[in-house]
Symmetry: C2
DNA sequence: AGGTCTTTGTTCGATCTTCGGCGGAAGTTG
DNA sequence: CAACTTCCGCCGAAGATCGAACAAAGACCT
């Protein structure tokens, strides 16, 4: 009796992860007989999940037929909804982006309007990629607020008026829809794209506000209420005067977020409103702005130092609008983290800017959808249907 | 084809978790045929892992034969090594304590001496429970310092001279030995014993120092270097003058740990050395001590407030020596956490004293061993051998 | 008390999976 | 171009699982 690794879903997982590209690989990895593997692969091919490509390199004998996910008959979408933008990426089953688009969109216009816009963009992208609507298997959506992941309903989001408890998945009828916090999907995108082998990773988004996506043991940690990673309202010392929109004072976000820096710059006579304005000032070489960004980095670093001791990640990725000036932000963060965290925890810790950049959220949202669809359970359901 | 849940290991897991106590239960839960289940159960009985007890209650038909883990032929031990004590619990396969003992033992005497002592105690406990040494299947050990869990080697532990990189499991020859940080095993013990249904839990140990065990998704989170949960050296605001043994200042442990409180009391003319002295003073009604404990609670609460925002646990358990005066400690902690954490995260959060108490560490260490032994993979290995 | 009903557990043949050897296919190497 | 290697499909054998039939053990009704 085999110890367990053998279902069609497991086989597909190995193919999709790139662990195996041939039938022989699969036999070696699963321990199943070659004939059994062939049978599984046949079933997957018949369902349109896997395809054979040209023969690969010979290693001295008959060259193996390469296997890969069938990219034609399946499409997925990742949707990145921000306070003022909407970015949609259409992806194939391997996670490659087929088409994408971005435009301005106020999330405050409410779920009906926003989701109608998303739906329209989905149609456009599908048309551009010349795929019928029917191949769209699942959609992942990242939204700027807390979500009850299991039901896809926003949970008292502060900047999404009208969205509270709105059943987002129902809007799209049959298609599988997964809704998550934007920082979570960014963390997922960054992890899968740039750090696939890392077990424990933190993705810190520094934009108008500050949030953090947590990858623990390769999976997103959402916490009990789905509010994990909300580090923007952690208190930092020495800033009791800084009031925060949450009602408390000295919140990290209220002293080191893009909006807070912009306000400080305005007070100094340098008009700035958003994180983008701050970035522009820094890039223009303004030393005041530079100093404030670096100081913000120190404050963020102070909080991260605590979290490093607590969570002991292998990698911390800094993303979000302000990471465009990451040299200065990172300098402050690194300085503080390496000073205030324990040596054991920092010894192998690396703190880097996002390698995935602006696309991380849409990508991560799409990957959320793809991984859901490719989960062994779901694949077994499809194959045995 | 069954979607997967069927191996002997899976069946045993259901029995050990209490999810199923009869063959019919197993058939219902796994979806396998009754005859298949009987076959699996027979194999488990033959290997001495499961036993039948008297018939249970009839529900209108033939009463089912009850199944449970076979308690006679298997024993496990949990060892709680502190700086100055050694506690050993001998447990059966269901996690019941068969015999236990505790005595003073300086961990600073080095691994050879300490482990010889443990080994001797194991023999005594086995004799007391009238079991031959051969039934001891696995041993879990909690030690007061960081450990590389995979190898069971202490990793530069500050208060365990001579233990660095010592291969603890090798000392016991054939028996399976799992070594982990003491706070981790306490968290495990508390979780399994008092909060089995909870997914995300923090166990905070307030003793001489301060540490935290993390249960995420029902499993221990150890972090990249196994140093996760080391919250004793998180910085707290407004105490820059308090130097810590780690070389930094304003560490939580340096201002709110038992040793720190004792020192402050001594400065106030109330001689105290250890956390136990502090507890004694509080219990004698000393208001200075009471005030300091409550203030320590506030400082711990400040750190926990950050961690609640970040990790979003369902339960925080307070344990360790100082939790003997938990009313005062908890008052300070709750006060600060509920003030400084986000409502979404605190809404369903409960902060409670340890229900498992002094035995949590030895219990948790034993459970670590038992769960390792009962893991489906290991059971399948045993049954198919 | 005795018959009927319900639920449990076992036995056993039928069916479905998986295994592994064989032979053909498709390359490489000398 | 012959020998070798690796890959892949085919097929009979071995093994696992199922489900029907039957026996066991108690509840329930008359």
């Amino acid at each position: 009796m085999t110890p367990q690794p053998g279902s069609a879903g497991d086989v597909l997982t190995l193919i999709s992860a790139g662990s195996a590209t041939t039938r022989s690989d699969l036999a070696r990895l699963t321990g199943l007989a070659r004939s059994t593997i062939s049978q599984r692969v046949d079933a997957l091919i018949e369902r349109g999940l896997v395809e054979e490509t040209e023969s690969g390199e010979s290693t001295g004998g008959r060259p193996p037929r390469q296997l890969r996910l069938h990219t034609e008959d399946h499409a997925f979408a990742g949707v990145d909804l921000g306070a003022t933008h909407c970015r949609v990426a259409l992806m194939d089953i391997s996670g490659n982006v087929l088409a994408e688009c971005e435009d301005s969109l106020l999330i405050s216009e409410g779920p009906e309007n926003v989701l109608a816009h998303v739906d329209q963009r989905l149609d456009q992208l599908l048309a551009r990629a010349r795929r019928p609507r029917g191949v769209l298997r699942a959609v992942g959506i990242g939204v700027p607020g807390p979500v009850e992941f299991a039901t896809g309903r926003p949970n008292n989001p502060p900047i999404m008026p009208g969205w509270n408890d709105y059943p987002v998945p129902e809007y799209f009828g049959g298609v599988n829809v997964l809704v998550d916090n934007d920082v979570n999907v960014m963390a997922l995108g960054e992890h899968r794209n740039a750090f696939p082998g890392i077990n424990h990773l933190l993705f810190v988004k520094v934009g108008t506000g500050i949030g953090c996506g947590i990858v623990a043991d390769g999976k997103l940690h959402r916490g009990a209420q789905g509010s994990a990673g909300d580090i923007g309202h952690i208190r930092v010392s020495g800033h009791e005067d800084a009031g925060c929109r949450c009602g408390n004072s000295a919140c990290l976000e209220a002293v080191a977020g893009g909006a807070a820096i912009a306000r400080r710059l305005t007070e100094l006579g340098l008009p700035a409103e958003t994180g983008a304005d701050v970035v522009a000032l820094v890039q223009s070489g303004n030393t005041q702005a530079l100093r404030l960004v670096r100081e913000a980095g120190r404050l963020i670093g102070e909080v991260l130092a605590s979290l490093v001791n607590f969570f002991n990640p292998e990698v911390i990725v800094i993303g979000g609008a302000l990471s465009r000036v990451h040299e200065h932000l990172l300098a402050g963060i690194r300085e503080t983290v390496y000073r205030r965290s324990l040596p054991l925890a920092t010894h192998h810790l690396s703190i880097t800017p996002s390698r995935t950049g602006i696309a991380a959220a849409a990508l991560g949202a799409g990957l959320l959808a793809i991984e859901h669809y490719l989960s062994p359970d779901n694949i077994n359901r499809i194959v045995n249907a």
